[in-house]
């Protein structure tokens, strides 16, 4: 396999976007090409989860490749639930590493706000097991609620710890122009004040409104290419050094210990091993905090902290900007937003920006090794990426 480099990135705001899905996908592609100077694209991968259902559009990649006037380049739509983004990056990686293509463009795009929030939650709930979960009215927030209750009971995590994740990530997002929520929140406002139950109502107890990510539209792009082409961009050389994926049971109740996210553990292990680094070599990470509890648990499963210690590290400021291992400097899914199919590419966008040293106010100093965890289903399909800056 030859080495694969991240040579160009682009992103839209993650928010409610009032333009067509195809343009949400195309705009970050244009940005990435313009900034990198790379215009010869051999293959396009478009990550998307719900266009056929939500936007009445199938074959999205065919539409995007035409919209960007990249025809006759090959184009494929990749659907892997909320992990579609990192899955598409994986396909791009394989294509360049194998030598089949020199340069591929990976785009993630989703437009969920075309429908209302209830319909959007119903749409995402199609990820659950049709016979063992969906018929009962199970949705992703309810799985997260049941998971959180069990986890909190077992490890002494409290609602306060969960709220700290939200406060941290909202604070990080204040410095991210492209984030969905530019809203600084406090423990007082969402937990302690007499108005807290109104500000922050219970959604799936013990999880509350501010424990959940918003429903976002958005697109992001990553251009992957071989070393010779990446060198010409003049940017620091950032190598996609590790790609790891793992799966777990479809129905969450089927897991031996439902407080463990084995697919996260395995995908992270594979990704880091391929990159030849250890969890504590990582300088900056984007974890899939669709629910606050997930940031804490993923930080343990990927090996940053011992099991049961993630909330302690959080509480001690270890994972905030300025801490030893900043997690979700972009604001994470919690505050940057979660346009499902685009999220994994959005995470990679943030890590590449960090490793280039171009993250401005939210820059993690001297970041050389970056890590992303893109979590599909409720942990049944996870893709982890490790990026390393060379030189």
């Amino acid at each position: 396999m030859r080495d694969v480099y991240a040579a160009g990135i682009g992103i839209t705001s993650f928010t409610r976007l009032e333009y067509p899905l195809v343009e949400i996908a195309a705009y970050p592609g244009l940005m990435a090409m313009r900034e990198s100077g790379i215009t010869k694209i051999d293959q396009l991968y478009v990550a998307n989860m719900g266009a056929a259902r939500v936007n009445h559009q199938s074959g999205l990649a065919s539409a995007v490749v035409d919209n960007l006037s990249l025809t006759p380049a090959g184009a494929e739509t990749i659907e892997n639930g909320p992990a579609s983004g990192a899955s598409a990056i994986k396909q791009g990686f394989l294509a360049v590493a194998s030598g089949m293509y020199d340069t591929v463009m990976v785009i993630g795009a989703e437009r969920m706000r075309e429908i209302n929030a209830l319909e959007a939650t119903d749409f995402v709930a199609t990820l659950t097991h049709p016979l063992a979960e969906h018929i009962y009215g199970v949705t992703l927030p309810s799985l997260a609620g049941m998971f959180a209750r069990l986890y909190m009971e077992k490890y002494g995590v409290t609602s306060r710890h969960l709220a700290m994740v939200a406060v941290k990530n909202h604070k990080h997002a204040m410095d991210n122009f492209y984030a969905h929520l530019h809203e600084e929140i406090t423990l007082e406002g969402i937990l302690d004040s007499p108005d807290a139950l109104t500000n922050n109502p219970v959604v799936a107890d013990p999880l509350r409104y501010y424990d959940m990510c918003p429903v976002s539209d958005g697109g992001a792009c990553l251009i992957l290419t071989a070393a010779e082409i990446a060198k010409k961009t003049g940017k620091p050389m950032v190598r996609l050094a590790g790609v790891g994926q793992a799966t777990d049971t479809h129905a969450v109740h089927d897991r031996k210990d439902p407080t463990e996210l084995l697919a996260v553990r395995e995908a992270a292990k594979r990704s880091l091993a391929m990159a030849g680094v250890k969890p504590l070599d990582v300088h900056v990470a984007e974890l899939h905090d669709a629910f606050t509890i997930l940031e804490i648990v993923e930080s343990e499963e990927v090996g940053f902290f011992e099991k049961g210690q993630g909330h302690i590290a959080l509480q001690e400021g270890y994972t905030e900007l300025g801490g030893k291992l900043p997690i979700n400097p972009s604001g994470g899914l919690k505050a940057k937003g979660h346009p499902v199919g685009a999220t994994g590419v959005g995470q990679a966008h943030e890590i590449v920006l960090q490793l280039w040293g171009e993250a401005a106010k939210r820059q993690v100093k001297n970041a050389k090794v970056g890590f992303t965890c893109n979590f599909g289903g409720f942990g049944n399909n996870v893709v982890c990426l490790t990026f390393i800056r060379e030189g």
Binding site: G137, V138, S142, G145, F147, R149, A204, H253, P258
Partner: protein
């Protein structure tokens, strides 16, 4: 009429799996349909639960009470709860009732009550 929810016992290794998989998750060695269909027990212990205050659009209730239960035979199932104040570890018993209705169908599943 007494209704049941069925699980699948592998004829090679005896493992009872629910929900259905074409290949047994335990021995990973069975041939097509090498399962005996067995009813799941209706008594168990509540593993975890939640009240979902934004239930799917097929429901018109204020909240939906959901839980995971470990049944007497060790199988686990996700179901609805009809319990005022659920607690982790409490003994529960199930009835098989309609758990979801949409325009065309009704779906039966386990609803748990305090034992």
């Amino acid at each position: 009429m007494e209704r049941d929810i069925y699980a699948y016992r592998c004829r090679r290794c005896g493992h009872v799996q629910y929900p259905y998989r074409t290949i047994c998750c335990n021995c990973r060695a069975n041939d097509h349909n090498e399962f005996d269909i067995v009813p799941l027990p209706k008594k168990g212990r509540l593993l975890t639960f939640t009240r979902l205050f934004n239930p799917p659009s097929d429901y018109s209730t204020v909240f939906l009470s959901l839980g995971m239960v470990e049944l007497e035979n060790g199988s686990r199932i996700t179901g609805q709860l009809n319990i005022e104040t659920p607690e982790i570890g409490m003994e529960v018993r199930a009835e098989v009732e309609v758990v979801r209705r949409d325009e065309y169908n009704k779906y039966y599943g386990m609803v748990f009550y305090e034992a």
